[in-house]
């Protein structure tokens, strides 16, 4: 049985008239990468903020390494690294000074801080930007510096709130590499993201949240298999095609998305390919089912703003 590092029971956060987190239970195990997925306003960031002790709970319990967040916030914050969603680097300082000043907040002695900061600049590939003020860094560099800053206290738990939002693919992949190498070092990682490929790529386990509740949890592969099957057939919408599909795949779930029909089935690999060989259909494409299919099935297609 893996060791539980974070445990929430009946965790609730209520604002004046908004139930942001609605009595959720979850566990995060030592050494895993656990993803919190959900549309905007699902309660992911609120949950993260309660874990690192900056938001008081309304009710329920939340413990990190056996310590309650309401009783031992300083001890918990010492062992956690946080990369927040909103950039909050210190614009009055250079790249290296941002790390050094942050190290001071953790009581890290000066020489030790300098050594760690230099290593982290190397790790986040910012050595050349060592003495540059924050204003002159690109968005990707800022994200990397935020990640480096979150590591200055050599945390056991890393909280990454949308670490790659707004980055180009190169910058994203670089962050992914860093996250993977941290996981290999045994750091427990909690990640929130809107990108399902990111979650599938990095997370051992995902918790899907909607309207303050956890509505599903499991390994990405298992969730895909359970909710979207192995393959998805997409064809252009047509009444006749629709009827034929219904007849051919009576147990399938058919979903009309814009001008396209998506067909989900629990039948094994290859069933759509053989169907298309006998009935060539306009605009047909067979693709592997993915976490995005699961996400949209569970949380719906309605826009959240």
């Amino acid at each position: 049985m893996p060791e539980v590092l974070i445990r929430a029971e009946g965790l609730t956060k209520k604002y004046d008239d908004l139930l942001a987190v609605d009595s959720i239970d979850f566990e995060v195990f030592k050494g895993e990468c656990c993803g919190f997925l959900g549309p905007n306003g699902a309660g992911k960031t609120t949950t993260i903020k309660m874990i690192h002790c900056v938001l008081p709970l309304t009710s329920g319990s939340l413990a990190v390494a056996g310590m309650s967040v309401s009783e031992k916030p300083r001890e918990i914050k010492k062992m956690i690294g946080v990369a927040p969603q909103e950039e909050n680097l210190d614009p009055d300082f250079t790249t290296i000074t941002n790390l050094l000043v942050y190290a001071r907040y953790f009581d890290i002695p000066k020489s030790e801080a300098l050594e760690r900061a230099e290593n982290l600049l190397k790790f986040s590939q910012l050595e050349e930007k060592r003495n540059v003020v924050i204003d002159q860094l690109s968005t990707g560099m800022k994200r990397r510096l935020i990640l480096a800053r979150a590591l200055i206290n050599e945390p056991q738990v890393l909280l990454l709130d949308e670490p790659t939002t707004g980055l180009d693919p190169q910058a994203r992949h670089l962050i992914w590499d860093k996250i993977r190498s941290l996981k290999k070092q045994g750091v427990t990682i909690i990640l929130t993201t809107h990108y399902m490929d990111e979650a599938a790529e990095l997370c051992d386990r995902t918790l899907i949240m909607d309207s303050g509740k956890i509505i599903e949890e499991g390994a990405p592969v298992d969730l895909v298999k359970k909710h979207a099957g192995e393959e998805v057939l997409e064809v252009d919408y047509d009444e006749k095609v629709m009827n034929m599909l219904k007849e051919k795949f009576p147990d399938a779930r058919l979903e009309v998305v814009g001008e396209r029909i998506h067909v989900f089935t629990s039948q094994p690999h290859g069933v759509f390919t053989s169907f298309l060989e006998s009935f060539p259909t306009k605009g047909a494409a067979v693709r592997a089912a993915n976490l995005e299919d699961v996400f949209l099935k569970l949380t719906g297609r309605k826009l959240r703003e």
Partner: protein, 267 residues
């Protein structure tokens, strides 16, 4: 395992040595732009002393409680700098750090608490007053306007009055919906104080109700009393009421500022 957390009520802050880490962050930023922070405050009192002291003062031949006009003006200039330095640091300065730069959010993700962040801001504001007050005191001394051996007491006065103005400033910051809000305290609180706190003329020249008002509620009146006593002290104990006033008001606003900020930032 854990009892439900009570919503945090109004209370006395729990502070540790970590307050100094917040102070140190602001000090480091200040030192980076040392020259711009040092020279303008040095020049301003020189202009004031030249224009109002020697210029306007030449028209005022009557002595004020035994002092020439420029002698009367000098401690007021020190006090106005004390007020401006900390009040603006803890309104505009703190608001920028809190709201635009999200510096407070970054700090409270570390073992430092929000209470310590605010206490650090107040201490830093007081330090700004100390630095500003010391600069103007130096100018006043260079103009030969010091006549009491106790004049160095201006420095602790600057620091403690700075604590008071910082705490008051942070109360406004905690309530400010946006940065333009500071027009209210600036024009309705700071400017009246600038003019009416026995700064440019003795309080006794004001109508009686205004005199009482200035004594009862304007912190600058008491700051001026103390600096004037330090610079021209004649051994009288006239400074005591002002000392008591500041000592009573400062802790109230200190605790209020921390609680209001907590209410704003930790919901």
């Amino acid at each position: 395992m854990t009892a439900p957390q009570k919503p945090e009520g109004f209370g006395l802050p729990k502070l540790t040595y970590r307050v100094w880490k917040v102070w140190r962050r602001n000090f480091d930023v200040f030192m980076k732009t040392f020259k711009t922070n040092f020279f303008p405050p040095l020049l301003e009192p020189i202009f004031y002393l030249a224009a109002m002291g020697t210029g306007l003062g030449a028209l005022i031949t009557q002595s004020i409680e035994g002092q020439s006009y420029i002698q009367f003006l000098a401690p007021a200039l020190v006090s106005i700098t004390i007020m401006y330095s900390s009040f603006f640091e803890c309104t505009y300065g703190s608001f920028v750090r809190m709201y635009y730069q999200r510096t407070f959010d970054a700090i409270i993700a570390t073992p430092i608490s929000i209470e310590e962040v605010i206490a650090g801001e107040i201490l830093w504001g007081a330090t700004r007053s100390l630095i500003g007050g010391a600069i103007v005191l130096g100018v006043v001394a260079a103009f030969g306007l010091i006549s009491s051996p106790l004049f160095l007491l201006v420095l602790p006065v600057a620091f403690f009055a700075g604590l008071m103005f910082s705490a008051i400033g942070l109360c406004f910051t905690a309530l400010a919906p946006n940065i333009d809000f500071f027009n209210y305290p600036q024009y309705l609180f700071i400017t009246p104080m600038f003019l009416l706190s026995s700064t440019f003329f003795p309080l006794t020249l004001l109508p009686r109700p205004l005199q009482i008002f200035a004594q009862a509620v304007l912190p600058l009146t008491h700051t001026v009393n103390l600096t004037r006593w330090s610079i021209f002290g004649n051994g009288e104990l006239s400074f005591i009421p002002s000392l008591v006033w500041i000592a009573a008001v400062t802790p109230v606003f200190f605790v209020l500022a921390i609680n209001l900020m907590k209410r704003r930032l930790i919901r």
